[in-house]
Symmetry: C2
């Protein structure tokens, strides 16, 4: 059963996720531990007409050895061939599926300065590639399958093998891979996003006011001609795809300079291998002016100071508190799942597609349109059972968008 | 115990194999299944002072999927970034350890034309890199650890787990990793090569005559100023290293145009995933003029026709029939072990270091000196219990080199 569902999930990532086209190439990024799934992706891609598939295997246990032993300076370097390899994905119009299955605890004892340095060096060296991906010049998809390290974090106190099985079941359920025809289910599911994005796009709210009992109290201004998206997106070539499997969010870009107030986290966040929990961020005219964290304040500092624009918001995202994933009541320690269980924001880059004609704008034009620019993009969760979100229209009309954590429209 | 020996074997590969130097980089090529060993290599390298380590993971089960589904044309392409990546190994003076653990049967049902095409395209695109490696511009080492696919081929009919354990034990024994201080044992062992290489280099035999009851009957001429090597070699930077762990061979380069007669195989050979067994090759003035094989004649044809120079000999190698590896009486289906259990030759490239001043010669100069040039280099075994090898000196004196399969000097 598990093997059958694994194949279904692979098919889903290939046909719904990146929607592979005849004679297109597919690049798979996968932890070595997820090799059975990576191979299933390859097989499904070829069956769907892909011209060629390549797999980039990573090994986080080796990464830990490297972070432990190598000097800080080493992490400042990014080989030219690596940059060329990433750019080739865009140049060839390949699709890319990334299997995301980090052990949330693995890097907790590693010097955060090394992780920060490595992350900044790679983001900076591969900026063109990242911007192209953010701009949907290629079709890409993030999907997760269990590893022992991750599963035992999500389900502590059970045997590793059982934890892995439990995580598989949760993933199959969250992704609908356990249904008879997951591809058909996703086509059906996609329709549920349409009403909401149409309403939000037509309303063109000038700002949203968030409040809850945790202490979130913030006004988030929106850029003119912003666009809400959810479910499938369209890539530059006009072909539909789903960047995330699962996905429950309806999202856009806030105006980078029009955010004032405080956001309080509702879920922990794993950033560069460090856990950040019970944290808050206070904004003035868009910029983070103060922050604190009960756990991982140093990591939060590293996030806020990671790069240009990492101290501004780049994404605003609506997810009902009673989303199917949220209803599982599992803390996944994995953004792909946790972000789909809660309203969230991202520090860092905005998606250019979130403003009219944004795909063809230069960085300066995007900034002028109010969109934040950064090489960082990190989601964090703020949704609670009592969250209210009120939309304010240009004429001052107040419209309840979320009441008690769920959609009010 | 196995874990302890694994660590010792890793240390051996790092300190004796590539003899890593302070602040040098190490590149590891490893099958994903050998990840524990790859990580041990990384850890030992950092402990030995390496600046940085990178691991290139490969997945032969994915390769099989690719060979099964992708069109022939796909295998003609080698990405520019891949060539740049290989060249960077040489440019940076990195050391390279390759973990060689192919499942000998995995690709047997794959279209050999695809494998041949892929192999030729990669060899041609990365020619500069291969020549640099053949010329010891970098220190490199090939070492093997078990995989299930390989172990169950070597030890058929036993449980996979037992087969893997048996193969580990054989490898530890063959590599001396089971000894208390393997590094010291290798330094001691290296001395045993010195008498033989000194004698052979001083003698400067003009040719060797091979005969045995299998049908081998051949004269192999040698170039002027040829050099015999065995045990450790010196890289371009003067630092000693062992390209193979284990190694039992004393080898040089034959004169490419002075080989006349027939060689009959004593061991099967796995080439590009295809088994070639009970085969013979007949040479005239150095060139293969006919060949036959009971098993895998098509694969043998592909080997002989693989590239320029793949139909000439590039290596002559002496290994006693009663070598420690040979005495194990195990058919490893892995050239690293089988070549060290038997006298052998290679079709294809000669090592430039096998002729005086060869390291600084151009390809044309090497050819003029009698050394074969090719992007192919494939060893095949001819040693038997009754093999005799007679060296002929310039004045016609005959000197027995091997009698009844073993050294006579």
């Amino acid at each position: 059963m598990q093997k059958e569902n694994l194949q279904k999930l692979a098919k889903l990532a290939v046909r719904i996720g990146v929607n592979i086209q005849k004679d297109q190439n597919l690049v798979v990024n996968s932890p070595i531990e997820c090799n059975a799934f990576a191979r299933a992706l390859a097989e499904e891609a070829y069956k769907a007409g892909a011209r060629d598939v390549s797999i980039n295997y990573s090994d986080e246990k080796f990464s830990k050895i490297r972070y432990t032993y190598a000097d800080l300076d080493v992490f400042k370097e990014v080989p030219d061939w690596f940059v060329a390899k990433q750019n080739a994905v865009v140049e060839k119009g390949s699709a890319m599926i990334s299997v995301y299955a980090d052990d949330p605890d693995l890097l907790k004892d590693v010097d955060p300065e090394k992780i920060k340095t490595a992350s900044a060096a790679i983001q900076s060296a591969t900026e063109a590639y990242h911007m192209a991906m953010m701009n949907n010049e290629c079709r890409w998809c993030v999907v997760s399958v269990p590893t022992v390290g991750w599963a035992t974090k999500v389900f502590p106190g059970v045997e590793p093998e059982t934890a892995v099985d439990m995580l598989w079941d949760s993933i199959f359920k969250a992704t609908r891979a356990d249904q008879d025809d997951p591809v058909a289910a996703w086509h059906q599911f996609n329709k549920s996003f349409e009403d909401k994005t149409r309403f939000l796009n037509n309303s063109q709210f000038v700002k949203f006011i968030y409040k809850n009992s945790l202490g979130t109290d913030i006004e988030v201004g929106m850029p003119e001609n912003h666009i809400w998206a959810g479910g499938s997106e369209k890539a530059a070539d006009g072909v539909e795809f789903f960047p995330n499997i699962p996905t429950e969010e309806v999202f856009s870009a806030p105006h980078k300079d029009k955010v004032n107030g405080t956001l309080v986290s509702s879920h922990p966040l794993v950033y560069n291998g460090q856990l950040i929990d019970n944290f808050s961020l206070t904004f003035k005219d868009g910029k983070v002016v103060s922050y604190q964290a009960e756990t991982g304040e140093e990591a939060l500092k590293n996030l806020v100071e990671a790069s240009e624009g990492s101290n501004y918001l780049g994404e605003i995202s609506f997810v009902p508190y009673h989303s199917p994933i949220s209803n599982m009541d599992i803390l996944f320690y994995n953004t792909l799942f946790d972000e789909n269980a809660s309203c969230h924001f991202a520090l860092g880059a905005a998606y250019p597609t979130c403003v009219k004609d944004g795909s063809s704008m230069s960085v300066d034009e995007l900034k002028k349109a109010g969109l934040n620019y950064s090489t960082t993009h990190v989601d964090f969760m703020v949704g609670t059972e009592d969250l209210s979100i009120t939309g304010i229209q240009a004429d001052g009309t107040e419209v309840p968008i979320f009441v008690n954590g769920d959609w009010a429209i």
